[in-house]
């Protein structure tokens, strides 16, 4: 009968949907993740209750809470230290991740203070099982376009950003060049000292 056929199809549909959905949920799309994070960030920057110089700290804090979970700071620190990472003890690694996270937080959250209507567009993404690249462009209010590529690493289906490449300049590689150059001449302790002074 027609009716029972429809029922059967529906049953199969529901069964497979229920069966598949946990896997579907686990599989976040990197492009979507980046786009949604940007949108959430922009929503905070545009929020009327947070506009104004006296709200700077509150706005920065909200933005940091919203955006930081999308980043994998440990991966960033590891890549920024490069070959020197594995020579470090677990405590040193932990300290370094904290220091590096602070640098990124202070400089890049601070940059949002001058937000004035810049737009972000995600152009395309590609990924394999564990790595993804999301290409986006920032359109300034002057009409200039800046290419911004996000590099993501997957950890059990959760995509996290580990590098941001602006006009071909990788943030992590830029810091690695600096750290390498410092570690060529001085000790790791001195590097940590210089990073602390920076704060």
């Amino acid at each position: 009968m027609r009716y029972s056929k429809i029922m059967l199809v529906m049953f199969i549909g529901v069964f497979f949907w229920a069966f598949m959905s946990p896997f579907a949920w686990a599989e976040e799309e990197p492009g979507k993740l980046v786009m949604e994070s940007i949108d959430r960030g922009l929503a905070i920057l545009k929020e009327p209750s947070l506009i104004g110089a006296e709200k700077v700290q509150e706005r920065r804090q909200r933005l940091w809470e919203e955006i930081s979970p999308v980043f994998n700071f440990e991966e960033m620190s590891k890549r920024a230290l490069g070959v020197h990472w594995k020579k470090r003890s677990p405590e040193e690694k932990k300290e370094f991740v904290e220091l590096f996270t602070d640098i990124l937080k202070n400089t890049y959250i601070g940059k949002t203070d001058t937000y004035s209507g810049e737009k972000m567009e995600v152009l395309r993404e590609r990924h394999d099982s564990s790595y993804a690249e999301v290409q986006a462009k920032l359109i300034t209010n002057k009409g200039t376009e800046v290419s911004v590529n996000y590099h993501l690493v997957s950890n059990h289906g959760k995509w996290r950003i580990y590098d941001v490449v602006i006009e071909g300049v990788s943030l992590v590689n830029n810091y690695r060049s600096q750290f390498n150059s410092i570690l060529l001449k001085s000790s790791y302790e001195e590097l940590v000292q210089r990073i602390k002074e920076k704060k």
Binding site: E29, G31, K32, N72, E74, E75, K78, R79, G82, V83, W85, K86, I103, L104, T107, Y108, K111, E121, V122, L123, R124, E125, R126, H127, D128, S129, S130, Y131, E133, V134, Q135, K137, T140, N141, K142, G143, T144, E145, S147, H151, V153, N155, H156, E167, G168, V169, S170, N173, N174, Y175, R176, S177, Q178, F179, S181, I182, L191, R194, I195, K198
Partner: protein, 332 residues
């Protein structure tokens, strides 16, 4: 006193035509095909891992594809771009990353390949560095440039920003950029980009007429003809001339031996240089430094600060940003 120091500055600045703070200039995403890859010799087998690209905003993707110079190597170059990422794949997910509970059993299995990953991923970027035999000299010039920026250039352009609205400054940029069209046109030809040369020619005709002497850019806004940022340094790179050592020039900023030659080549191709023959060096100097100041006022000053301010070693940060940006632009 103030006037005379300003004049000295203007004179020094003549040499800084369009090469200053190059990394800040934006350019559309386009094909990358060049021998100067960051990760040389890492092409093996990785390509197969890469899934087809997915469009997120479908309208945008269409545009990009048309921007690409219509070559058939698209798929190939796309995957090439992903290489630095995928180079260290086998070990990437390994233990060093997350310390979450789920990870623990994988940790023990995969600790081995971590070393391999470090070697592959990191050595690939090592090749992106530049030789810097005259670093002490370069560093002193960098300190000078940095001081000149904060004490001279920045105050001047801040005042200029207050006096001239942003729209007008962008128009001025368009005007100078339109005049410098032969630089891009000839470098397109030298690089065998005949389509790009045609685009530049069409842009020049449209912008000079409809764009009122180049002050606006209808070629881009109405006809979607993108500016082809081609310079002589790129041309030399395409002819397999090596980067050479790093040089920090007063006022011009970071450069390499090759790009310095390229810079001079571009000067020779720029009609503004002819101005000094007709209108005398004083006018030419004034015009050039005005162009320079205008560029800095729009975004190059900001770009300089955003690279050097968060840096632990600003000199290296700027040098690395220059090198990375050049590699990208040469690949385009």
């Amino acid at each position: 006193m103030r006037v005379s120091s300003l004049l000295t500055f203007l004179f020094l600045v003549t040499i800084c035509l369009n090469g200053a703070f190059v990394w800040a200039e934006s350019s559309p995403l386009s094909n990358r095909q060049s021998d100067e890859t960051t990760s040389t010799g890492k092409k093996s087998g990785m390509d197969t891992n890469i899934e087809g690209e997915k469009s997120v905003s479908s309208g945008q993707t269409g545009e990009i594809v048309s921007e690409n110079k219509g070559s058939a190597t698209n798929a190939n170059t796309e995957s090439e771009k992903l290489e630095p990422v995928s180079a260290g794949q086998p070990g990437e997910t390994a233990g060093v990353g997350k310390s979450s509970v789920k990870d623990t059993n994988i940790k023990s299995e995969k600790l081995g390949p971590v070393d391999v990953e470090f070697e592959t991923t990191f050595s690939s970027t090592e090749t992106a560095s530049i030789s810097d035999p005259i670093q002490p000299y370069n560093r002193s010039i960098f300190v000078f440039n940095d001081k000149a920026y904060y004490y001279v250039v920045k105050p001047v352009y801040k005042g200029y920003n207050k006096a001239v609205p942003e729209k007008a400054r962008v128009s001025v940029r368009n005007f100078f950029s339109n005049i410098a069209m032969p630089v891009r046109f000839f470098n397109c030809l030298f690089q065998g980009e005949f389509k790009g040369a045609g685009t530049e020619l069409a842009r020049f005709v449209i912008n000079t007429t409809f764009g009122v002497a180049g002050f606006s850019d209808p070629a881009k806004s109405l006809f979607h003809l993108e500016k082809q940022n081609r310079d002589f340094g790129q041309t030399l790179a395409k002819y397999k001339i090596g980067t050479g050592p790093f040089v920090e020039w007063p006022f011009i900023g970071p450069s390499s031996a090759r790009d310095t030659v390229g810079f001079v080549g571009d000067l020779a191709l720029n009609p503004l240089t002819l101005l000094s023959f007709f209108a005398g060096p004083f006018v030419s100097t004034g015009v050039n430094s005005y162009d320079y100041m205008n560029e800095v006022s729009i975004d190059k000053g900001e770009a300089y600060e955003s690279i050097t301010k968060p840096a632990i070693d600003p000199y290296i940060a700027l040098q690395d940003a220059y090198v990375q940006n050049r590699i990208k632009r040469i690949k385009e």
